[in-house]
Symmetry: C2
Subunit: 194 residues, 2 copies
Amino acid sequence: MSVIGVLAFPDVEELDFVGPWEVFAAAAQLGGADRVLLLGETLDPVRCAKGLVVVPDTRWADAPALDVILVPGGDGRRRQMTNPAMLALLRRQASGCRWLTSVCTGSFVLVAAGLATGKQVTTHWSRIEELRGHPVVVRDDVRYVRDGNLVTAAGVSAGIDMALWLVGQIHTPEFAREVQRYIQYDPEPPYARG
Amino acid sequence: MSVIGVLAFPDVEELDFVGPWEVFAAAAQLGGADRVLLLGETLDPVRCAKGLVVVPDTRWADAPALDVILVPGGDGRRRQMTNPAMLALLRRQASGCRWLTSVCTGSFVLVAAGLATGKQVTTHWSRIEELRGHPVVVRDDVRYVRDGNLVTAAGVSAGIDMALWLVGQIHTPEFAREVQRYIQYDPEPPYARG
C-alpha cells in the first residue's frame, strides 16, 4: 500500500493534478489499495488557475509519510517556489519518498526546493527556456523523464501518461494496463499537431 | 461568447468533467471568451466518485441559458437518472442549447431525460450492454459520436477529445489546435492496449 500525496495550491492548473488523481485513485479502487490524498496548505477551498474550486482533505503540516509526491503546475507555482511551507514540506518528505514527481511547471517548485539539481527535468513546452536558467539537465523531447526517483512530466495532459507509468512501477505493468483501460485511455486528439 | 455548463453531482467521475473543464476553460482564457460554469444542485461541496471534493459556482435552478451542456458520468449518474431536479434542468435547457453533450455514463442521464431517443449514443465500454436496453442507436466503435446537437463521448478520458472537437465547432479548428497545444495534448499512453 502506497500513500500518494497530490499537492494543491491557489492557481494550480486543473488537469495537471486531476489527471493523475484519476489514475492513482482508480488504481486504488481497482485493487491497488493505495491511499490518495489531496494536500493543501490549509483545508480551505482552493481556487484553481481556470476557476475550479477544490477542497483539500489533508494539511501539509499533517501529511503522513508519502511514498509518492506529485507537484502540479499552473500560474500558482510561481508563489509556491518561494513559499516556506511548500519548500519545507517537500524537503521533509523527499528523503523518505519513493517517487518525487511533477507535472507541467510543477517541476520549477522541485527545482526551487533544491530537489532536482543536476538532474534531467522537463516542463510545459512554453517554459523550457525558463527552465534552462536553472542548474538542471533540461529535456524538451520527452512526455516525462525519470532520473533516479525524480519523475517530471511535460505540460498539463502529460501527467496522465506519467501517472499510468508510475502505477506500472508501483504495482505491475499489467495492473497499469487495467487502469488505462478503466479510464478508456485510447486518446484520439481531434486535430493534427500544428 | 458561449455559456458552457458542466454539471456536478455526488459520485461524478473526476476526469469525466475536469478533462472537458480544462479544455473549455483554457479556450475561454486563450481568447475564446466563453463562460464556463460548474453547476451543482446546491452550492454545497460535492464529493466525486474517487474522493475529490469540488465546489459548484452556480445552482441548477439559477443557471443562465446554456449554449453547451456537459453531463459527466460516474456511479452517481444512477441517482441522477431519477433526480427530478436534474431531469428538469436538462429538459428546460435542452431546447435552447447548441450542444447537448455527455462523457462516459453521463449519456444515461440524457437518455433518462428523454433527450437521446432514437439517436446515436455511446458510453463507457463497460456499460455498452446496459445502453442496449434503451431506445437509442448504440455506438461501441467511436471515441465520441455526434447526432444532430447531441454529442456523447466514450469513457472518462474520451471527454478531452470530445471537448477539443467542440471547441473547434464553437470557434474554429485552428483555435482548437491552439488549445490542444496549450494543454500539450500529444498523448503517449505508456502501455499497449490489452
